[in-house]
Symmetry: C2
Subunit: 411 residues, 2 copies
């Protein structure tokens, strides 16, 4: 078999990029036939350098909410780019966007803008600690809040002091949360929570309302700051902060990924209680105040408000979930599907219900050959830009692939 | 006097953004007539919301290297945006850009890309510590390496542990550097240095070659990592790492701001010695692998290689410096001009040579009224997009303003 163009690119990359690729878009733990480089993206599709088109169920790990290369959103970006982007001060779009989020997000009285999701979670961290000058932060064990030194999942290059002031609790467990708060005592600065449990390699868990209410109550009692980290799930569960449906409002929420449908912007939104602390911290970045991503975010929000994108992505996700469940059942393949239907984690398991890494990889490898891009160990994202026909094609592909899997799973 | 549109924007912002504005683009310590919001930017000019045009000597605090709204660079960005930007993997532009930097930057054998300057300095920090699993980093006292928790200049929200493993030395002082290295002992991970001393509120200092060579020698002897933080000065002193002219090559250099002439991208470049450590760390960001800023960076590098932008910005800077020196002398105003001519820090001082904040503010306030945007306490940046006529206009403006200043300085 001739070498693929993707492999040729990987070979070139290995010389000038450490490890050939790094970070969350590295395909090193994915199926060996997973392309690393992509030439084109449009709507719900991506194309690799060998001319293969894939129905993309990763959405760039979240940014693609409404479709790659969205005409209206990109036009808003480009028009603004012609006027002013990164300069000696922001444009009025910064104020308009903050006002729009304050109107849209129930708990928010203000907003701050940044670039990375990690910027947003770190601003929340600093604000929580500045609020009463306390140090201890409660984090759910294993939760990903970005790749800053205080939370990156690999220890290389970090020092123990980076995590000296964190206390870890079990997600969804109010007793564990209360015990962690007791341990923090008078030094409790805040509690971080992802809107649902969405760690890699593990079944996703929807939030237990009792846990969410306990987090709010502890923060109220101790004058600490409750942070919902909505970087990954923002605007994919709600047109508001993701804990709205639980009736629990945080003091701060961190946002990123989907805000401008792929243009680089993230944000922290906060309530009056957290405003003074947010004023005191010093955070900044060279491109944080750039106008073009803000113009794109305003257009994205307008579409969020006026379209049925959310209902559509849920419906597509449920159709996929139901179809896969039926196919897996028929094929005798144990397939675990967890999390919200529009952000599913799909894993092939063994007879004991444990995740089978190679079977999960093989499932994805098979789908790739049918032009379907799934992820074997990270939650996926379903964009409203997909059609019912795309889901049908995906189910047809899964039908073919699942028939070949049982032998592997059993072995 | 009728309220300005800028003031109306500031009033709106105060409601929905903590403190009305934050970070390095806040004008809170600048002259009261400094506009906070800008409607348009082109070439070397910015326009506020009241229709005033300014010759901009800040370049967005660095990103504007070749002119705002640069037609060729923005066209490269927009063309790429139509193909693919942030997706499930990078485009081949990531490899091309890394290859181009490896060719261009003498010490570099590889590159990694990110968004903020702070991302680039933090990747350098993690890589230095991962290299031999050591903890101690030497930093010049007061040096700015971004607003991450380990270096943000204001303490609010940080904890002492964030800085537990830093030892501070005096910039340009080899003895101080050696003493800091001795203190680190066997636990020395690396030394950070800005290419020249460019802190706010203080005279800038060009690097002492003996200091630079001592830094290199210590790192060689102790198997530690030397980092030059070129985020602010990259491609403004050299078409290479800024310490090239000193004959000192770092192991790592951090870059940002000017790389794509205002589009959001930063980078770390490293040598073979640092490659294994760079492979081990886990760093990432939602938009780090976006293709459009990389296409813009490739076009920017092409112009860096093929134009006289650097010689031109130096010539413009020297013309400004010489002219201001002469005017200040005639007017009897003690004006201190330090740093490279194309990155000048200009401060009005008192008779003891100490910085006079109010006189410096007043100087800038006066220039603003003549359509010239100077900064009273931060180094400025001169873009090659300015014309000789712009410098003439600036000197005419300075002539008028300086005549009114001596009384204030004396008082």
């Amino acid at each position: 078999m001739a070498q693929t163009r993707d492999q040729a690119l990987k070979d070139r990359a290995a010389k000038v990029i450490p490890g050939g690729m790094y970070g969350h878009l590295s395909m090193q733990l994915m199926a060996p036939n997973t392309p690393q480089y992509f030439e084109r993206a449009k709507g719900g599709y991506v194309w690799d350098y060998d001319g293969n088109r894939y129905i993309d169920f990763m959405c760039g790990f979240g940014p693609n909410l409404l479709g790659y290369g969205h005409e209206e959103i990109d036009a808003a970006f480009v028009e603004q780019l012609k006027q002013i982007d990164a300069a000696v001060g922001p444009s009025a779009h910064m104020i308009e966007l903050a006002e729009a989020y304050v109107d849209q997000i129930t708990h928010a009285d203000w907003a701050m803008f940044c670039k990375n999701g990690s910027d947003a979670t770190t601003i929340s961290l600093l604000t929580a600690r500045a609020h009463r000058g306390r140090k201890k932060i409660l984090l759910a064990a294993g939760a990903y809040h970005g790749a800053s030194t205080w939370n990156t999942p690999l220890p290389a290059g970090t020092v123990p002091e980076d995590r000296a002031n964190f206390i870890y609790y079990e997600y969804n467990n109010p007793d564990s949360l209360r015990a962690a708060a007791d341990e923090a005592g008078e030094d409790l600065a805040g509690i971080f929570a992802t809107p649902f449990k969405h760690e890699v390699f593990q079944e996703q868990l929807l939030p237990n309302p009792e846990y969410a209410r306990a987090a709010r109550q502890i923060c109220d009692t101790k004058d600490a700051i409750l942070v919902v980290d909505d970087v990954r799930a923002g605007f994919r569960l709600e047109r508001d902060c993701s804990w709205r449906s639980l009736g629990v409002q945080p003091d701060l929420s961190s946002w990123g990924k989907s805000l401008a449908n792929g243009h680089a912007i993230s944000a922290v939104m906060g309530n009056e209680r957290a405003r003074e602390a947010a004023k005191q911290i010093f955070v900044t970045g060279s491109f944080w105040f750039a106008a073009a991503p803000m113009a794109a975010a305003l257009k994205t929000l307008e579409i969020i408000q006026t379209s049925e994108y959310l209902e559509r992505s849920i419906k597509l996700g449920e159709r996929l979930r139901d179809g896969l469940a039926s196919l897996a059942d028929t094929a005798g393949v144990p397939l675990t599907q967890t999390g919200p239907a529009q952000m599913p984690l799909i894993m092939v398991t063994n007879d004991q219900g444990e995740r089978d890494h190679f079977a999960s990889q093989n499932f994805c490898a098979g789908l790739l050959q049918h032009g379907v891009y799934f992820h074997p160990y990270h939650n996926m994202f379903i964009t409203a830009a997909l059609s019912d026909a795309d889901i049908d094609h995906t189910l047809d592909a899964a039908h073919s692939v699942l028939r070949t899997l049982p032998a592997q799973v059993a072995a």
